[in-house]
Amino acid sequence: MTPNEPRPEAPPPACRPTGDRRERISGRTLGLIISTAALFALLALLSQSFLSGYTMFVISRQMAFYVLIALSQAFVLVIGQMSLAVGAIGSITTIVLGLGLDTWGLPPVLAVVMALGVGVFAGWLNGALITRLKIDSFIVTLSMMFIYMGLRSGISGGSPYKVPEAFTFIGQKSLFGVPYVFLLVLALLGGAGYMYRNTVFGRRMLATGGNAAAARLSGIATDRMVVWAHILSGAFAALAAVLWASKLGSAAPETGDDWLIISFAVAIIGGTGLNGGIISALGVLMGSAIFMLIKHGLVEVKANPYYANSFLGLLILLAIVVDRVREIYSDKQKEK
């Protein structure tokens, strides 16, 4: 289509998401909600124990971690980049936390602040390398991933660090049966959604991801947005790591090893645009629910756990295929 020819004046297609369209709930998110509900109902029918308070506790807490990890990736996806270092940052954070709590015997608050600081710094470093040296985010985060993983193994020697009893409170306790972690993550997720929808900072991020050149020529300091996105990503990865240590009751060096896949899977299923500019907080929540329910369901139907990753891979593919089909369908609608 030549650029100067207007599209036939068709009504704006409802199902193609715009970066910051203020529909209450997009068709895509609605689809996710329905899928989640269906999975939930199916599992409730299949298993007596599913609706028990304990299962709900475990599931919601696990979901919370998926959300954090997915957000860590989504912050960067939104500006049109990616971070392969999500899990590695979580891992190095865990080590610093362990050193603080166990080796150096610091007060928990101080150790946690230090650990989160490491995440923020790692994120900032990614962003700074990408913007100052104009290197692709893939290369930068790939290198950093290896650097952190090496540091992790070198420093820890592979054995876990002990954490004090008091530190496990937030990761293991609940409020009226709802895990604190889940409540905290819901609040953070709501905050992120609000940020992208309503604040200058968030909308500038979306604009940067939507079209970086246009955003820059509209007076947005896009480089600063990129750095901030990576800082947020690092901070959330670090937070996930700290909470994970609290949940486990120890700082385990292998923390973060499976985060990379999870971060992409949940973010993508949740409708975060891989080319930037599109994110839905509710979508990420539903993405993590679907991811969790399927994982749980596979256990429930006693599927061979060695194959579990294949199912998850299929799930990601399915999510993308569904999107693609919708896109083709909406284009067809226009052409007819």
Partner: protein, 502 residues
């Protein structure tokens, strides 16, 4: 002979083509003109098999064509040179030309590069592109890429050649060269369909012209004996004037922007000028002559290598676009609205208000006021008569003219009183073009904005600007003042521009 019979095509809510019948004869250059939305692109897509007509048929040498795909049409010898450049940026010129017919050494499947480069050289010479065939495409200018595309169509030995705005980024010299080439092809019996917005080209080059309006064929006429005015009337159904928009009286205005020996290495050499309030200062010149390059320095997108910039009488230090917007209130409407101007996937409201979000924020909640955002958008839609279904419409779905108005509105919303507008009417139809001219003139006349109009469209710049700077080889070659005072005719101004260019 390529013939269209009774073509109908409907899109939701619009009859894109209504019973269109045109015969394109071999050995003829047939212009296809019409405003945006008249149905030209749809028609091209039907000829090339991208769309299927709802009714009617395309006959090629008497037999109906039923293309399943674009590739089918290529195989039948119909080639298209589109306005959007379709070349592989990382490959060489030769590879692009010969992509589907790479010469191999016998049956070994090993590519014979010398032979390919020799063949490519021949086609490059035909289009007058003096570059080695192994030059990587991404190093080429837009104009040269376009020439490569034309060479590619030649290499395909197409029998029907569809050229969609082929000169949009060519210099005059290159365009003349292309026209010579097309005439040669015509004489060899190739059918050439030439889509263009530029009347000069249609009259200089074509034998016949078919005019589309609102999806209907207004008529097919021989160029001989057709006047420009008649063609315009056919296209838009009313007359258009060439006279200047009117006097701006900017001589007494306050100085808004002054450049002193501005240098950008390799792009701009020692440019000095003054811009006053209420003035439209034209930057005329060819692509690459230093106009856009100077503008990018003025808005802080490119670094100032030497000289000084004064804004409202004070020396300015503009480090980036955010600076030029917030501290100096300079707005820049890019020449490249799709790549650099708009968030195409976002709603209109986002693009209008993107540069003013910080002003719409409520203190405590950091919430961008929805009401004020929509209010500003509605104001702009009204002020610039932007045709949209509403503030929430996807920007991508708008016509070029309306998209351009949104690019302008962004800076008006931000209260910029210095506006740099780069090629504002490229790819915009006549009706919208006139509206944009009127908007720019009104902004200067009534709202005392200081405007720099960058354009390589001579009629446009002579009609709208009050003073013109002519750029040549990265320098300001000359200045023509008082274009708006009514003492100079169009011919005099264009002759003066011509003198500075040579």
């Amino acid at each position: 002979m390529l013939e269209l019979r009774g073509i109908n095509k409907r899109f939701p809510g619009v009859q894109a083509l209504d019973d269109v019948g045109i015969a394109f004869a071999p050995g003829e250059i047939h212009a296809l003109v019409g405003e945006n939305g008249a149905g030209k692109s749809t028609l091209i897509k039907i000829i090339t098999g991208i769309y299927r007509p709802d009714a009617g048929e395309v006959l090629f040498e008497g037999a109906p064509l039923r293309f399943r795909s674009y590739r089918d049409s290529l195989e039948r010898g119909i080639d298209i040179v589109s306005q959007e450049i379709q070349v592989i940026p990382e490959s060489t010129i030769a590879e692009n030309l010969m992509l589907d017919k790479l010469i191999t050494r016998g049956r070994t499947g090993i590519i014979d590069w010398p032979a390919i480069h020799r063949t490519a050289r021949r086609y490059l010479d035909m289009v007058g592109l003096p570059l080695p065939p192994d030059t990587v495409i991404k190093r080429l200018s837009a104009a040269h890429k376009q020439l490569v595309q034309i060479a590619k169509a030649l290499a395909a030995e197409a029998r029907v050649l569809l050229l969609d705005e082929p000169t949009s980024s060519l210099t005059e010299h290159e365009a003349r060269n292309l026209f010579g080439l097309l005439r040669g092809l015509r004489d060899k019996g190739v059918t050439i369909i030439f889509v263009s917005h530029k009347f000069e080209e249609v009259f200089a080059l074509c034998d016949k012209v078919s005019v589309l309006r609102d999806g209907r064929l207004v008529g097919t006429r021989r160029i001989d004996g057709l006047t420009r005015a008649e063609l315009v009337t056919m296209m838009i159904g009313r007359d258009v004037t060439q006279a200047h928009m009117g006097r701006l009286d900017a001589e007494a205005g306050r100085e808004m922007l002054r450049a002193e020996d501005v240098v950008r290495k390799g792009k701009v050499e020692s440019a000095s000028f003054t811009l006053r309030e209420g003035e439209i200062l034209g930057f005329y010149g060819l692509v690459g002559a230093g106009r856009t390059e100077l503008a990018r320095v003025l808005i802080g997108e490119d670094r100032l290598d030497g000289g000084a910039i004064h804004v409202r009488g004070k020396k300015a230090r503009i480090r980036n676009v955010a600076d030029s917007l917030e501290r100096y209130r300079i707005g820049y409407v890019t020449e490249n609205r799709k790549e650099e101007g708009l968030l195409l996937e976002s709603p209109v409201r986002t693009n209008v208000t993107i540069s003013v979000w910080p002003r719409l924020v409520r203190k405590l909640t950091r919430y961008i006021s929805r009401t004020r955002e929509l209010g500003i958008t509605r104001d702009m839609i009204r002020d610039l008569s932007i045709r949209v279904t509403g503030p929430e419409q996807r920007t991508e779905d708008l016509s070029g003219g309306n998209q351009q108005k949104i690019c302008i509105s962004k800076w008006l919303a931000a209260d910029c009183d210095i506006l740099i507008v780069d090629e504002p009417t490229v790819g915009v139809d006549i009706g919208a073009k006139e509206q944009i001219h009127q908007i720019l003139w009104d902004l200067a006349r009534h709202r005392k904005k200081a405007i720099i109009l960058i354009s390589s469209d001579m009629p446009e710049i002579i009609r709208v600007a009050s003073r013109i700077l002519v750029f040549k080889d990265r320098r300001i070659a000359g200045e023509i003042a008082g274009v708006d005072d009514g003492t100079k005719t169009y011919a005099e101004v264009s002759a003066a521009i011509g003198r500075y260019l040579n």
